[in-house]
């Protein structure tokens, strides 16, 4: 029985403080009445007495107002101090109650540490990549422009010198534009330590002013540095200055030898500057004039990247519109060269972030899901704790604690837990980021510094507080709603959980399962994709093979000398014991960057008048045999090609696409933009090699012979009988025997080279799998906790049922039915989650459909298995309900 509401209300009214104005009025009225009574006693008439009392008091209204004002200020101050005092008390109480239940607190704190830590670490990565300022002045005003070939897949291609020149003269959107060669070139640097290969980036001097970067030392490049070939000025990035010149300030003005030519260091770039050309060790001044003078190179050779700084008030979209218009004009003016090419305009950050944005967003979202599961889990745990603490709350309410106060106190308890969890989480995140640095840095933009700075800590703190409030809210509200009278009076019979609270817990568990299914499915799909990428045949044998590069210096100026060197080296290498085959190539498979346009003889020009592109590599005779690439038709290269008519070997995909009748061998094509280029005969067709492991379909590829096209930086592939890296030393000796000035660099096993190409793909898989495992663990604990407390709450009922003749099976069925409903609801929610997740990660999938039955099957069965495992203990306990003990 409870008190009638009316009485309770009457009590509350009595407890309420009267309003300040009323009090003051009462006090003044009392005074006036007393004074009047006194005066009447002294012989005044009541009217005169009242008037005299009034006169002595003064202006009642004014004084009352002044008193009320003072009282109000006092009351406000009291409320503030009371609030603070209460908060302090709540926190103290929160800490105490956490210590009282050490096991629960430890579990809660470690769960929170994992959830918050995952978020803090991911935020650290996201912030450094997507949010931190780029190392340029007003980086938001910088854009990159790319050539977009309508026919090809390459939508971030280079531009020709002619196009760059036209853009520079016609554009009105930018205060300035500057171009640079998109790929750094290897150059030989010789000092006391011997020859070394450095990466040189050719940039127009205006690049540094466009980016808004000052010199840290000396000066940066000027236009006259590029004007003449007789002035050789170079600029060093900060890292090179430190690494190669030990940070010597006297380096400005020093002459160094690069590619055999003396160059003068004129300046050093500031620390933290990240150039648009990845990995440049030195900057050379670039002038477009020589390229513009050459009629073929001017418009047909695409090799330049372009960056521009927007004028104030011009948006990226406006600039993009102008560039598209210029591209259309150029296509009209130079249909043969610029036809089919449009210009893609992209904000610099987007250009630099590139492909990492999507995985990062996916991972941040995953970490967020883990935190949500953490919240749901702890909310469930706290709810069951609330049930067992109901008596305590009832006593407190009975002693005068307001419901608001009770809610506040429970929220303080959960916030205390969350804050402790947050601190532990930050420590975990710091450790996690250290581990991530090795895994993630190669796949992240160069400017990204993975660290937890003040902003990240602030966000983490806010996350912790929000988490505490989020998972504490449901239990706190449920505790405040409990029926005080009933709880206090009825000690044992009220022990079962209320329907509302049980439903909340059910939804929490269902939510956890849904989120967990989504995460696991996402992780599974990504893992399957990576598995498919690493296991799908690339088209060559990457095992027990060593690769390294050799840079031929300026003394190898002629094609003849380059060919002679390669033949000489191949012969010596082949003779080494432990080497079964050896070959050279211009670029390694999976790493080929060079693409050339081509025109098939007699084939009609494509409708948009643009050339198709194909990968282009120059290889030695034994290349196909060394890499295990099958010959499908015709022949590979041999000695007869030296000095003979120009020949090509092509990939199977290309042969099928352009010669569907199978007559590729013997047909002819032109390579490059020049319509008068010599016709080259296709002499062979080989099996395809997938150059991008993340793409299923092989790209068209053209192989030329080094006998006809000897590169000056050959990459050597050595098939070995034993450990590939053990062959580096003997091969170095052979190289030195031919020419001691040539450096052998970047030695690695072919397996590692291919694997590193997938490093960026591995990061999301590893992290999302970790998040998925975490989610699974949390969800299992959640399922266990719900069933355990559900079974415990109904123990008495089960006892009655057993007493009335119900079998163990019936009892187990009861528990299962109740829990199974929530499990089913969770799985249904998970199905929706999977749809959302696959939409988000669709682009990252490879060789696996978004609704891969195997992945989904494994996900669901893993989850159900874990849930079943979590069910065992509670069900056993329920079926052991002893009617004698429970009913006594």
């Amino acid at each position: 029985m409870t008190l009638p509401t009316g009485i309770r209300r009457a009590f509350r009214l009595a407890l309420r403080r009267p309003r300040i104005d009323e009090e003051v009025d009462n006090e003044v009225e009392f005074h006036l009445a007393m004074r009047t009574a006194d005066l009447v006693e002294r012989g005044y008439t009541p009217e005169a007495a009242r008037a005299e009392a009034q006169r002595r008091f003064g202006d009642t209204k004014q004084w009352s107002m002044a008193m009320s004002e003072l009282d109000r200020e006092r009351a406000a101050y009291d409320r503030r101090t009371e609030w603070l005092g209460d908060l302090r008390q709540d926190l103290r109480y929160g800490v105490r109650s956490a210590i009282r239940a050490p096991l629960f607190s430890l579990l809660a704190v470690s769960t929170l540490a994992l959830g918050i830590g995952a978020n803090a670490a991911m935020f650290g990565v996201v912030k450094s990549v997507l949010l931190d300022a780029l190392p340029y002045r007003d980086p938001d005003r910088l854009v990159r422009m790319y050539g977009h070939f309508a026919a090809g897949s390459d939508n971030r291609g280079p531009l020709s010198a002619g196009t760059v020149n036209d853009i520079a003269q016609r554009q009105k959107s930018f205060t300035g534009v500057a171009s640079f060669s998109g790929l750094p070139q290897d150059a030989i640097y010789i000092d006391e330590g011997g020859p070394r290969v450095v990466k040189a980036a050719w940039v127009e001097p205006a690049l540094f002013t466009t980016l808004g970067v000052p010199a840290a030392l000396g000066r940066l490049l000027r236009d006259d540095d590029a004007a003449s070939d007789t002035v050789y000025s170079i600029v060093l990035p900060h890292t090179t200055w430190h690494r190669m010149f030990s940070g010597d300030t006297a380096v400005v003005g020093r002459r160094v030898h690069l590619n055999g030519l003396p160059r003068t260091i004129v300046g050093v770039l500031p620390k933290g500057f990240v150039g648009p050309v990845a990995g440049a060790d030195v900057y050379f001044p670039l002038s477009l004039r020589p390229a513009l003078r050459d009629p073929i190179r001017a418009r047909r050779s695409h090799w330049l990247s372009l960056v521009g700084r927007l004028k104030p008030g011009v948006t990226v979209d406006a600039a993009r519109g102008e560039m598209v218009a210029i591209a259309a004009d150029l296509a009209r003016e130079h249909p043969r060269d610029n036809g089919g090419i449009t210009i893609a305009t992209v904000a610099v950050r987007d250009a630099m972030v590139g492909d990492t944005r999507r995985p990062l967003v996916v991972l941040m979202a995953s970490a967020g899901l883990v935190l949500l599961i953490t919240c749901a889990n702890l909310a469930g745990a706290l709810l069951s704790r609330t049930v067992s603490r109901r008596k305590e709350f009832a006593v407190r309410v009975a002693l005068g604690a307001g419901r608001g106060r009770l809610v506040r106190q429970l929220l303080a308890e959960s916030t205390v837990l969350a804050l402790v969890g947050g601190v532990a989480g930050v420590l975990l995140a710091a450790l996690g980021l250290r581990a991530l640095r090795g895994l993630a840095l190669p796949s992240l933009p160069e400017y990204a510094q993975l660290s937890l700075d003040g902003a990240a800590l602030l966000v983490t703190a806010a996350t912790a507080v929000a988490t505490g409030l989020a998972f504490g809210l449901a239990p706190a509200l449920s505790a405040s709603r409990s029926n005080v009278q009933g709880t206090l009076r009825d000690e044992t019979r009220g022990a079962s959980e209320s329907l509302g609270s049980r439903r909340v817990r059910g939804f929490l568990v269902a939510g956890q399962i849904a989120l967990c299914v989504s995460l696991l499915a996402g992780a599974g799909l990504l893992a399957r994709s990576l598995w498919a990428m690493t296991t799908a045949p690339l088209g060559f044998n990457a095992e027990s093979a060593l690769t390294f590069a050799i840079q031929l210096g300026p003394s190898y100026g002629t094609a003849d000398s380059r060919l002679r060197f390669q033949e000489q080296f191949l012969e010596r290498a082949r003779a080494l014991p432990g080497v079964s085959a050896v070959a050279t190539t211009s670029e390694l498979p999976t790493q080929v960057m060079n693409r050339n346009g081509f025109t098939v003889e007699g084939a009609p020009l494509p409708a948009d008048d643009a050339q198709p592109f194909a990968l282009y590599v120059a290889v030695s005779d034994d290349y196909f045999r060394t890499l295990g690439i099958q010959l499908e038709d015709g022949r590979t290269f041999n000695a007869s090609d030296a000095g003979g008519p120009p020949v090509l070997v092509i990939g199977e995909a290309m042969a099928k696409r352009y010669w569907p009748k199978g007559n590729a061998v013997g047909s002819r094509l032109r390579v490059g933009p020049n319509p008068n280029a010599p016709l080259i005969t296709v002499v062979g067709v080989v099996a395809d090699v997938r150059n991008d492991p993340a793409r299923m379909d092989p790209e068209p590829i053209l192989y030329a012979s080094i006998r006809q096209n000897p590169w000056n930086s050959p990459v050597v592939v050595v098939r070995t009988l034993g450990d590939p890296l053990a062959m580096v030393k003997p091969l170095q000796r052979e190289l030195a025997a031919i020419d001691p000035t040539l450096p052998l660099y970047r030695p690695a096993t072919l397996r590692d080279v291919v694997g590193n190409g997938l490093a960026g793909r591995r990061l999301p898989v590893v992290l999302m799998t970790a998040f998925g495992a975490l989610a699974l663990l949390l969800a299992s604990v959640g399922v266990y906790a719900m069933f355990a407390s559900m079974a415990a709450a109904r123990e008495r009922e089960f006892g009655v049922r057993v007493a009335l003749g119900a079998g163990r099976g019936n009892i187990a069925g009861l528990v299962l039915r109740q829990g199974g409903m929530w499990l089913g609801l969770g799985l249904a929610g998970g199905a929706l989650g999977v749809v959302a997740v696959t939409r988000l990660i669709g682009d990252l999938l490879f060789g696996v459909g978004p609704f891969d039955p195997m992945t989904l099957g494994i996900t669901v069965s893993t989850l159900v298995a874990c849930a079943a495992l979590a069910l065992v203990v509670p069900i056993r306990r329920a079926t052991r309900a002893d009617p004698i003990t429970t009913l006594r």
Binding site: E27, R35, A37, F57, G58, T60, A66, L70, D71, E73
Partner: protein, 110 residues
């Protein structure tokens, strides 16, 4: 009220109110009556100012208030000196005595 009554000196009222409460809880009217009697009507104060002083002292936590029942069986607000109020009373009394002595001796000079 006679015309010789002195204008209230600043702060005098506060110390008188504190003094009035040293014997225990009193309501505002009792305080007013005590000051009237104790100064034999020398001090001419508006009683509203007296109440203002009481509330001011309460805000400073020198006195505390509570509603009770008066000798005439009416609800009245009773004021009590707090520990801080008692300290203030001692301190202000000393100050006032020094001040009065100084003024008196100055005026006593021939």
């Amino acid at each position: 009220m006679n015309d010789d009554s002195l204008d209230l000196l600043k702060g005098t009222l506060d110390v008188l109110v504190l003094k009035a409460l040293t014997w225990g809880p009193r309501h505002g009217y009792a305080v007013a009556r005590w000051i009237e009697d104790a100064t034999r009507g020398t001090l001419q104060i508006e009683e509203g100012a007296l109440y203002h002083a009481l509330h001011r002292l309460e805000k400073k936590r020198w006195v505390a208030s509570e509603w009770g029942v008066s000798e005439t069986n009416r609800r009245a607000k009773y004021y009590t000196l707090t520990a801080a109020g008692r300290q203030q009373y001692v301190a202000q009394t000393a100050t006032w005595a020094r001040y009065a002595e100084a003024v008196s001796s100055a005026l006593a000079m021939a």
